[in-house]
Symmetry: C2
Subunit: 316 residues, 2 copies
């Protein structure tokens, strides 16, 4: 491992946008154990393993992130018979991580806390690996509001359950509120990719990020439910009037943390159902599987376009 | 499937404490798709599959929950050469579920939202299966405060980051606060099991439940950190003075939801480090693995004692 002093010097002499934790302590740590990845600066050569990463795609489901890696390998012409894409985090079962070329694929589980743990360690990993100009995209699933199931939503603003573009957390027992920030130009680029493909409806809209799938999203079918169907409908209609087109459970923390650390960030989720018409996810399995591939196809197209425009991935 | 009407009648005529969702809609649903378990009342005979469940053990890590099932099979004399314990939720990668005799073992991932999704579906599963007198125990890992690493904490009260015994959630955009409720007699029974075993220190203490592993727990080694070492130390010392002996990320939602639906509930976590002395989890892998087995051994002993006292598991 290069010393932190050397790393800082190298960063200052470079024109690219390096990934930079806002925590100054990270630069002075002798060893950094990324516990939930089962990686460490003292046992792994992170610059050699990850230095060329330009795109990080994240999603809740481990198998979906593995499937995305195989898909990207084919799309980038990096696949060959017998190729294997081993899970880099094989020493733990908390998250999975795969890499093909400049594309890193990481699972984050369900919800803000699971995603925040992963992001803390991902941002530190990209920093230790001296990565620059990294784009992070969540490819996920969601419930739609007023959209045909299978529609893909590119998020304009990640908002909370009160429709505000903020991420709230408790720090040392006190409530701290951060603005969520997604990259507007990146969202437009992704919308253009949807238009290029013409394979499924793609819309730009606000995404509501909640901390529960049932009561937190106004569902009537959870083990607990403290409101009426009328209350629910009014809430979802108010959300729609506020420009919200889908609901999921991770976008706000992604927007807040990545935005703070110099990463371009976007959220692309498919809608599995129209919440104005029901609560249960009961489409046939094969239909749901095809829906889940849509954000992957859109983001795959985006990555290929970016790489083609750059000519050389190293210049991205 | 028996109709909901029949189920209700049967429940009323029985002396046991049935698992009862507080949401009245569940009783009238024609089909209930437990989406994140990939189970449904129309495709699975839930009473036949789960009707005899008396103990549900939950924990973050899927492999730990599988290991616990194999351990319990041996302890209960239900293991035999070549025995397999298939993952009941094999159709999804969100959670895993294993069963041996009256013991169900389910993973919940990291954090309150991931746990709340699982609990909504678990409580409905136990209701549809007509289970009665069910005890739910979380067997997890945590950071200790002022304890020797490897100590096991049986939770007296699950408190939030302000040290209050509450679970706060957003419902239809409004803040709702629930009391957390853990069973005192059950905690005492578990403490007695620790004393019976004499294998590791077991203490009764309050457990702080946070929504982040880094800033949310006062760590200095995350990608973001907005406070000083002094601020951190003061916070952890105030937590210790409030009776808090460990910090994790799921206890409060477990206490609030299970308590509301007629389930006896407890939390038993091992501490992987002493947070008054550091932030990084950097003990050798084999030491951490042995620590993680301690709550399993304690709860395994508890289950055997309960079963022996009942004579017949059906009378529990």
């Amino acid at each position: 491992m290069a010393s932190s002093g050397l790393q800082t010097k190298k960063r200052d002499n470079h024109n690219g946008h390096f990934v930079q934790p806002t925590n100054p302590n990270v630069a002075t740590m002798q060893e950094d154990v990324l516990y939930h990845f089962h990686l460490s600066t003292s046992t792994h050569d992170l610059p050699a393993m990850f230095g060329d990463v330009k795109f990080v795609c994240v999603g809740g489901s481990p198998t979906r992130m593995e499937a995305f890696t195989k898909y990207m390998a084919k799309e980038l012409g990096l696949d060959h018979p017998g190729a294997e894409y081993p899970n880099i985090c094989v020493g733990t079962d908390r998250y999975v991580m795969f890499k093909v070329g400049p594309v890193l694929s990481v699972s984050h589980g369900i919800g803000i806390p699971s995603t925040s743990v992963m992001l803390h360690e991902l941002i530190k990993l990209l920093y230790h690996a001296r990565c620059s100009d990294v784009t992070v995209i969540r490819i996920g699933t969601s419930g739609g509001i007023g959209l045909e199931p299978g529609s893909v939503v590119v998020t304009r603003q990640a908002v909370d359950a009160s429709f505000k573009p903020v991420f709230e957390q408790m720090v040392l027992g006190k409530r701290v509120v951060h603005r969520t920030h997604l990259d507007e130009r990146l969202a437009q680029e992704l919308m253009q990719c949807g238009a290029d493909l013409r394979e499924f409806p793609t819309v730009l809209g606000n995404t509501m990020c909640t901390s529960d799938f049932y009561e937190g999203q106004g569902r009537l079918d959870g083990a607990l439910c403290s409101y009426s169907e009328k209350d629910k409908q009014e809430y979802l209609e108010a959300a729609h009037a506020a420009g919200i087109r889908n609901i999921e459970m991770e976008s706000s923390v992604l927007a807040a943390m990545c935005g703070a650390c110099g990463l371009q960030v976007a959220v692309v989720c498919v809608t599995l159902l129209n919440r104005l018409e029901g609560d249960q996810v009961n489409s046939p399995h094969e239909v749901l599987v095809e829906y889940q591939e849509r954000p992957q196809r859109l983001v795959g197209h985006f990555i290929k376009k970016r790489l083609a425009a750059a000519g050389n991935p190293r210049d991205l």
